[in-house]
């Protein structure tokens, strides 16, 4: 049983995705229980695998007993199992939150939405765990297709946004496919560990250069790296709130993880084409950080502001990869974790306010602190963490990034990080001001139901809000006990 746990992480949500519409026809309550139970199983097995990997070292799981490089293997190292744990945890938290949102849906619609949600989780975790680059493409498309459909379930405008995302996302996936085509053409293998061996003598060939360029283009589109971010704001704004919370939390970051895996584990960051590519995406990320923050300031819609802020935040992770020393990589992975928790929390709060008052405009947030104190408390923690005030988690990832940049003398990146923190402060304090200080005008709609959100929605928000503080306080053990082993060459 213990040997089979890694398969369970992926297969449990995949199976439930298949039968979800059928269960839904019987009873929607039963469906919710089954889906939450499955994601809990998935989360628990990911966690137990992570604990095991930390004590016993990297573990390979061969599907169907076929040995690599011919068979498909799953590689469970501290990095991949850690991120799989994070994905399944966010997925679990968001599905609990989504209960009141999907209450009014018909049986069929509810079944299909839950099925797509499970498929999205499967796809993202598969991308993280797989050790085969074509298998990664398949999981990429599974997660993308279910994300398109989930976004489109938000209404007509969401459908238009999802259609655009589909076109652009398919271009990204095609670039990725071309990239692995080049790698396959020169090495004849699709297995990551095998590629590492076979690529070493070839690193200076133009084919590898082309492959790296294709991978950057493909994954750049998928992670909304500036200037390939065009699909993101509309998709995040119009998608149903639980979907946005999950997608914004982990989906773009999984693409960043794929780039990390390719650059630092397969090619090796020091080689010619990769260091050039890292330099370019580093600058793109730096511009994206400033651009996203400035655009976020100009928004009046809270969700749209968060969407632009996501474009900026993915830049921090890429910046960490571009700097590339130990501090910066710890900062990048820590920011991966932090941003997943705080952005999901913020989108859950935005969804909760919409559910309660039907409003998304920031100016309608006045006096919410008195009506929803717990929700807004979580919002305050998440917002301060986005700005980067200690002891919230957001401070420490920026701190590691700045330390890394100082070590290599990349001063422009430090300036970018500081300016962007100030800009973050501008747009988040504007919202905080509305929530805590502004008086509500009489014509503003006061919800009849009043008071806090229902427990099913409140608990996930508070858990994530508390999570930000916990990660912030425990940042040192996290960095030394887990993240250190997650770096390339750091496995024991």
């Amino acid at each position: 049983m213990r040997e089979q746990l890694p398969a369970l992480i992926i297969i449990a949500p995949l199976l439930v995705a298949l039968i979800a519409p059928l269960i839904s026809c019987v009873s929607t309550k039963a469906l919710r229980v089954v889906v939450i139970g499955t994601l809990l199983v998935s989360c628990m097995s990911a966690l137990s695998v992570l604990i095991r990997v930390l004590s016993e070292g990297t573990f390979h799981y061969q599907f169907g007993g076929w040995a690599p490089p011919w068979g498909i293997e799953y590689v469970l190292d501290p990095l991949s199992s850690g991120i799989a744990t994070l994905i399944s945890f966010i997925s679990l938290v968001v599905i609990i939150y989504s209960g009141p949102f999907f209450n009014g849906e018909t049986k069929l619609r509810s079944g299909i939405i839950h099925a797509l949600y499970c498929l999205l989780t499967t796809g993202l975790m598969g991308m993280v765990l797989t050790g085969d680059i074509f298998n990664l493409y398949v999981f990429l498309e599974i997660s993308s297709l279910s994300a398109y459909a989930l976004i489109a379930s938000g209404g007509y405008k969401a459908t238009v946004a999802a259609f655009r995302y589909l076109l652009i996302g398919t271009v990204g996936a095609s670039f990725y496919l071309l990239g692995i085509g080049y790698l396959y053409a020169v090495t004849g293998t699709l297995n990551m560990a095998d590629l590492v061996q076979k690529l070493q003598p070839l690193m200076d060939s133009p084919v590898i250069f082309t492959a790296v360029a294709m991978l950057v283009a493909g994954m750049g589109i998928k992670m909304a790296l500036f200037p390939m971010h065009g699909w993101l704001p509309d998709s995040y704004t119009y998608a149903p709130p639980p979907v946005t919370a999950f997608i914004s939390g982990v989906m773009t970051k999984v693409s960043a993880y794929v780039l990390f895996r390719f650059f630092f584990y397969i090619f090796g960051a020091a080689s010619g084409p990769v260091s050039a590519a890292l330099n370019i995406i580093g600058w793109a990320a730096a511009i994206g950080i400033i651009f996203g923050s400035v655009m976020a300031i100009t928004q009046t819609d809270f969700r749209r502001m968060l969407a632009y802020s996501s474009i900026a935040q993915i830049g921090y992770i890429i910046l960490g990869l571009a700097i590339g020393n130990t501090f910066a990589l710890i900062g990048a992975i820590l920011h991966f974790l932090n941003h997943a928790v705080m952005k999901s929390c913020l989108f859950l709060v935005a969804g909760g306010v919409k559910w309660k008052t039907g409003e998304h405009a920031i100016e309608k947030y006045a006096e919410l602190s008195r009506r929803m104190p717990l929700t807004m408390g979580a919002f305050l923690i998440a917002a301060l963490s986005m700005v980067g005030l200690p002891p919230t988690a957001g401070f420490f990832s920026k701190w590691y990034l700045v330390l890394g940049a100082m070590e290599t003398g990349m001063w422009p990146y430090i300036i970018v990080i500081i300016i962007s923190s100030l800009l973050n402060a501008v747009y988040f304090f504007r919202v905080i001001e509305h929530v805590y200080m502004k008086k509500a005008t009489p014509e503003m709609k006061i919800p009849e139901k009043g008071g806090e959100l229902p427990v099913a929605m409140l608990v996930p928000i508070v858990v994530l809000g508390a999570g930000i503080l916990i990660i912030g306080i425990l940042n040192e053990p996290i960095a030394t006990q887990i993240l250190q082993y997650a770096l390339p060459g750091g496995t024991h």
Partner: protein
Amino acid sequence: MKELLSQHVIYWLIITLFMIGLFGMVYKNNLVKKLMAMNIMQVAVIIFFLVLGQKAGGTIPIEIHGLEGIENYINPLPHALMLTAIVVSLATTGVALAFLLFIERRYGALEEDEMLRRMNQ
């Protein structure tokens, strides 16, 4: 001549096809045409992989009695991979067509500028 065709011309054709697809997705106004351009681009990638598996004088990768040695058979792996990619392409097209039906029903137009105008009204 054969060498020129199999080593160079075919790759330029694939690049051209890929670029036609990208061009169509950017410049065409009609959403269905955009979708068709996306399919053209995917087909270019599929042909690229099939060319990788091709061998001059190779036959289908099913063992024929009396014909031994790998040089007599084409590489089946790219074909197997592309079967998956074709299925993905089919699914993507299906989802996109469903979106277009939905958009057409609501806005009554599939020309992008017309649709955006009605959406923002």
